[in-house]
């Protein structure tokens, strides 16, 4: 029997995508390791400096501050967004009339650009002419500093009750908290849609059986809905975490001047690497080192969540 000729066809089909992904994904990712080991700037390659960029990071207070701010962002945005979107999805799943209307309303922020949205929210948080303080005034609350307030939210909250706490326990600044609000608001529609799809996958017979057994709605939620929707919960958890670690536009457009203000309390990791790489210092290799630290953090958390997901399996 004649040996079949080698078929190049399949490779030709894959070639266009492969070239693009090779040149603009694989090469850059490998290159970023190389870049972080060299003294590399816009002008060209400098000398090999090994791990000294990473050593520098350890003593870089601004880096730690931006990492802390990013963690604050994630720790607040992820659980609040998760709870609210599950609540909305559950409510939407229980109505018939106007269901798609509300779904669309909640979804609008997801399709609109972060840039335009940030401009609008910055004006909403304006102390004198903003909508936020306008609403607060209507319900008799003193105006807040919002994006201009560098003090922590716990500190501000406890101050109202006459309790003084040290600054480092103050939590995210009110300015960062304003960013948290916008970030939650922007992602809520997407998470709600994902949860709604997850809820619709739960067979109705479970609820009917629970009704016959006389289980209340709250009990049904915790005994049926919550466990059965857990794959969706893990997906939402993972996606929201990954996306929140990469927040950039709202910081760039809403905070400052200087961006990241007041007092650096809204400087996040992606803005910091942008500033290092493309700002005044133009230090692409240091920025690459920061990017790889961010990658390592995201990767670790993703793998951790995957392991957790395997354990919690229904």
């Amino acid at each position: 029997m004649k040996k079949k000729k080698f078929d190049f066809g399949p490779y030709l089909y894959i070639l266009p995508a492969l070239v693009i992904i090779f040149v603009f994904r694989l090469v850059p990712i490998l290159l970023s390791f190389v870049v972080s080991f060299f003294d590399w700037s816009i002008v060209g390659v400098g000398k090999f400096i090994g791990l000294s960029n990473y050593a520098k990071l350890i003593y870089d207070a601004e880096f730690w501050q931006s990492l802390l701010n990013t963690f604050y962002l994630v720790i607040f945005v992820v659980p609040i967004s998760l709870i609210l979107s599950l609540l909305f999805a559950t409510l939407l799943n229980n109505i018939k009339k106007l269901k798609s209307f509300f779904r669309s309303i909640y979804f609008i922020p997801t399709v609109t650009s972060m840039v335009a949205i940030s401009i609008v929210w910055k004006l909403i948080f304006n102390q004198q002419t903003g909508l936020a303080n306008f609403f607060l005034a209507k319900i008799g609350i003193d105006p807040l500093g919002w994006l201009a307030e560098s003090r922590g939210i716990f500190l501000l909250l406890l101050q109202n009750f006459g309790i003084e706490i040290p600054h480092y326990l103050g939590g995210p600044s009110l300015a960062l908290f304003s960013i948290i609000i916008v970030t939650i608001w922007k992602g809520l529609g997407y998470n709600t849609i994902i949860y709604l799809a997850g809820l619709q996958n739960i067979p109705h017979v479970y609820y009917e059986a629970a009704d016959i057994d006389g289980a209340g709605k709250i009990k049904q939620f915790f005994k049926i809905t919550w466990p059965l929707v857990s794959p969706t919960t893990f997906y939402v958890l993972m996606m929201t975490t990954i996306v929140t670690f990469q927040v950039f536009s709202q910081i760039y457009l809403m905070t400052g001047p200087p961006v990241g203000g007041p007092l650096g309390t809204t400087k996040v990791i992606v803005y910091y690497l942008y500033d290092k790489g493309f700002g005044e210092s133009n230090d692409l290799s240091y920025a690459s080192a920061i990017a790889l630290v961010l990658f390592a953090i995201i990767l670790t958390l993703t793998l951790f969540q995957k392991r957790l997901e395997k354990k919690v399996h229904y």
């Binding site: 693009i20 909640y106 990767l299 993703t302």
Partner: protein, 323 residues
């Protein structure tokens, strides 16, 4: 009873979700003067003062207020001063409110910086990206789904693993690569790196796998080539997945900001989001112009969303289902 509680919660939260947009639109048609005076509410009122001489009402501009009388300028409807420094007793002066829409804010904002140019640039980039993503995606997915070849699994998982890498990680090295190619500050930098999308390849591969083999076998008997089957069988049966891929590509490209901000320096090549960002720095104190610019930047996607909301929401919902 219980349903009405659900509806109340949904309405209140729904209002919170769209109130920024409502305020954006109402502020965009407000008089800039009123906004700066601190007229924050939703209705584009214009406040003005008049004095009543018993028979007629005159528009006035108050110059100096004293205890029981004021000096005022009387003005006509165009704002021109008819008589100045008239002394009028305060009891004759009334403050009134009138609805007035300043649609000219839109044209003023649009012409202040070349937004027309930005729109055209964005359209060129977005359409090229969508077109490229569908072509490269269909070809690659077709091979992954319907052909056997050495290294198929390896290449597929290599692609999938690249999908996990966040954009900030490859932004800086991509900048270096584009610099070497001489593509910085060209459309190429905005288009070429984005014309292959791993998620699209993944979606289309899943779709092509669901098409029954019998269809391909029958076509083969009729003498249809592998290339012909892609166009005559695989793609026509995958319209909704292609629409999903196009929607993601278009929205992603239209809204992308950090990438064009870094890769483009030439003001003539700015895309809408970057142009809007520069405009927001230039016009930072002109609230109503900023709101007008934000409104017309959001509008095209908002209209697209309202027309195709079912398809768009279904597309996003399907992105969460595990393959």
């Amino acid at each position: 009873m219980k349903n009405s509680i659900i509806y109340i919660i949904l309405i209140v939260c729904g209002f919170a979700m769209i109130v920024p947009f409502i305020w954006m639109i109402t502020t965009s048609i407000k008089s800039p003067l009123e906004v700066n005076k601190g007229n924050v509410g939703f209705i584009p009122f214009e406040e003005y003062s008049v004095y009543d001489d018993g028979t007629n009402e005159f528009r006035i501009k108050i110059v100096k207020v004293q205890t029981d009388s004021s000096f005022v300028n009387v003005i006509n409807s165009e704002g021109k001063i008819i008589s100045s420094f008239k002394k009028i007793s305060n009891s004759d002066i009334h403050h009134k409110k009138k609805l007035k829409f300043h649609f000219e804010n839109f044209s003023e904002a649009f012409n202040k910086v070349p937004f027309g140019r930005y729109f055209i640039n964005t359209l060129i980039v977005s359409f090229s990206v969508v077109f490229g993503v569908i072509i490269t995606g269909s070809l690659a997915a077709y091979a992954f789904a319907r052909m056997r070849f050495v290294g198929r699994e390896f290449l597929f998982y290599l692609f999938i693993s690249m999908m996990m890498v966040p954009q900030p990680v490859y932004l800086i090295p991509s900048y270096i690569v584009l610099n070497h190619l001489g593509w910085l500050d060209t459309y190429n930098a905005l288009i070429i790196p984005w014309i292959a999308n791993i998620f699209t390849i993944f979606l289309l591969r899943q779709q092509f796998k669901t098409i029954p083999q019998e269809l391909f076998d029958a076509a083969a008997i009729d003498g249809c080539s592998r290339w012909g089957m892609l166009w005559k069988i695989a793609l026509p049966l995958s319209k909704s997945v292609i629409a999903t891929a196009a929607i993601f590509g278009f929205i992603g490209s239209w809204n992308s900001f950090m990438w064009p901000l870094v890769m483009i320096d030439n003001p003539n090549l700015r895309v809408l989001q970057v142009g809007l960002s520069y405009f927001s720095q230039e016009a930072s104190s002109q609230t109503s112009l900023l709101m007008a610019a934000s409104t017309f930047s959001i509008l095209p996607l908002l209209v697209l969303f309202l027309i195709a909301q079912k398809q768009i929401i279904a597309s996003f919902a399907s992105s969460g289902l595990k393959g």
